[in-house]
């Protein structure tokens, strides 16, 4: 019983972080209909940049965090402006291919700058594990979860209640109408990329802190793909819930199925879900079911 609760809590904590990164995916997808497959690399880049600020410049964590967010913001704007904007109007598949290329380029650049060595993140959270009832939560996971929840809440509030958020929702819903209301659709696209990059960078810092940084950390991005397919590509609530479900499921698989088959199931559980969801409910749990009327 204890171990079950323990595993579920660990799963929820990881899931919270997945949810945050998934939110980044969804923000970009909703506003611009682009599935950004370079999300994992955004994440890794964020972790590396934050680490560099902490170690090279000896800045305190809060400063490094803010600087990383600013960098992500600029990165989002620049990428949207010079890579994505010229592609507006091109078939969606080419745009997605371009984001894959973008991911590879970012990966290569990180390889060159930070070398492929695996590193541990400088300690930013108090190292003492936390006791919650009868479960023990490693501090990295706990604080990471808190971080992810706060960040997710902030993004949600902006999206739901600020005027910018309303404009983003309007654009996601109907670009023509938004344009005729005086909303600059280009500005909204740029903002979506900026928010998306920020969400993934925070995710990167948290994951880097939990399990160390390497150039290959971005592979988590693929797992998050399973999360958003499960939750529904265009559903923010779905992204968060999907994250929690995948997180818990992954850890439960590790607990119950791995011993039976000698390990390995934990890693593929999210993709197993991905395939099943695509077969039975391709628009995900909360995604908009597209019915084309002609």
């Amino acid at each position: 019983m204890d171990i079950l609760i323990q595993v579920i809590i660990t799963g929820l904590a990881t899931g919270g972080v997945y949810g945050l990164i998934a939110l980044g995916f969804v923000l970009i997808y909703k506003a611009t209909s682009v599935l950004n497959l370079a999300m994992g690399e955004f994440m890794t880049l964020g972790a590396f940049i934050c680490m560099t600020f902490l170690l090279q410049l000896n800045s305190p964590f809060y400063l490094a965090f803010i600087l990383t967010l600013l960098t992500a913001c600029v990165l989002g704007f620049v990428i949207e402006r010079i890579i994505l904007r010229p592609l507006i109007g091109e078939p969606i598949i080419s745009v997605i291919m371009v984001t894959i290329g973008l991911g590879l380029i970012l990966k290569g650049l990180m390889y060159m700058i930070w070398t492929p060595t695996f590193r541990t993140f400088p300690e930013i959270f108090p190292p003492k594990p936390l006791l919650l009832g009868f479960a023990v939560v490693p501090s990295g996971l706990f604080w990471g979860f808190i971080f992810a929840i706060i960040a997710t809440a902030v993004f949600l509030v902006i999206f739901k209640y600020s005027r910018t958020g309303v404009a983003m929702r309007a654009t996601a819903n109907d670009q023509q109408a938004a344009l005729s209301m005086g909303i600059s659709v280009r500005w909204i696209f740029a903002l979506a990329w900026c928010f998306g990059a920020m969400a993934s960078v925070i995710g990167g810092i948290v994951i880097g802190n939990i399990s160390g940084i390497s150039v290959y950390m971005g592979d988590v991005g693929l797992k998050v793909l399973a999360v958003i397919i499960l939750g529904g590509l265009d559903s923010i609530g779905g992204a968060i819930l999907g994250g929690l479900i995948i997180g818990v499921l992954e850890n439960l698989t590790g607990l119950y199925i791995d011993p039976l088959i000698g390990g390995g199931a934990k890693g593929i559980a999210p993709f197993f879900v991905l395939v099943i969801i695509l077969m039975v409910r391709p628009y995900g749990l909360f995604g908009k079911e597209l019915i084309e009327r002609v």
Partner: protein, 270 residues
């Protein structure tokens, strides 16, 4: 004559050319809309009516020609800035924000008039902001009242029947407090009663609010009844312009609508 005429036009289109690949959608259309009138654009399907509206509010970029609003050339302005100049529109196929409520849709129309910074919106409540909000809710109430959509204020838009959606779209455009309102087939797909309501709303908006109206409509009854002037397009060209009575008896217009044997053949490419 030109100078005098130019002055009384609030919105003027000069020699608009627009093509898509080899298709000439608009071929040198020039016309003008006077302040406070109801100006209708009619013509058979594919005549270029919607293209003309799209040129006015900058969705399309004409290859040649200019759009002049109150003496100012607006044909190089960014499309999202058009709303702030006082031009609002509705669409042929309803383009509402489907998952939002009716009131939220109307509020989005007022978006363009909120001047505070984009991130501060909804957080800062100063005095001027208070007043702004009062003014807005006053206008919203007036619009809801005028268009008789009180009972559906809180409903989610995509759950509403088509006729009501069209009304909500009109309400949203009105919330922009436009000086010129472009209406693209507001009565399409409506039954007789709904069409009559819509015609009444358009007249009210024109008379009570003093909004200039540019209307595209296929329902000739409505067009002839409420228009001050009518412009007829056929194959991207203006073939007539004038008062409803003049248009009704214009031979070229009748030809365009009813077809004439040799014209019909030439259209088929013979």
């Amino acid at each position: 004559m030109q100078m005098e005429d130019n002055k009384q036009y609030q919105l003027r289109l000069e020699d608009i050319h627009l093509s898509f690949g080899g298709l000439q959608a608009l071929n040198g259309v020039s016309t003008g809309v006077r302040k406070g009138e109801i100006f209708s654009i009619i013509g058979p399907n594919g005549a270029g009516k919607t293209c003309l509206l799209n040129c006015i509010n900058r969705f399309y970029h004409p290859e040649k020609g200019s759009v002049i609003l109150e003496g100012r050339d607006i044909s190089r302005i960014k499309p999202h800035k058009i709303a702030a100049l006082g031009i609002a529109r509705t669409f042929q196929n309803v383009e509402l924000f489907g998952h939002m409520s009716v009131l939220d849709n109307i509020k989005l129309g007022a978006h363009v008039h909120l001047k505070s910074g984009s991130l501060s919106g909804g957080i800062y409540y100063g005095k001027s902001r208070r007043e702004e909000i009062d003014l807005r809710s006053h206008i919203e109430a007036k619009i809801v009242d005028l268009l008789e959509i009180e009972h559906i204020r809180k409903s989610v838009v995509h759950s509403l029947p088509y006729g009501l959606q069209k009304r909500v779209e009109l309400a949203r455009a009105l919330a922009m407090r436009p000086r010129i309102l472009l209406l693209d087939e507001p009565a399409t797909g409506m039954n007789l009663e709904e069409t009559e309501d819509m015609a009444r709303f358009i007249l009210d908006i024109n008379e009570e609010w003093g909004v200039t109206i540019v209307l595209i409509e296929h329902d000739m009854g409505v067009v002839m009844d409420i228009s001050d002037r009518i412009c007829v397009l056929d194959f991207g060209q203006k073939i007539a312009e004038g008062k409803p009575d003049e248009i009704r008896h214009n031979e070229q217009v009748i030809k365009a609508y009813l077809g004439e044997e040799d014209i019909t053949y030439s259209r088929l490419g013979a």
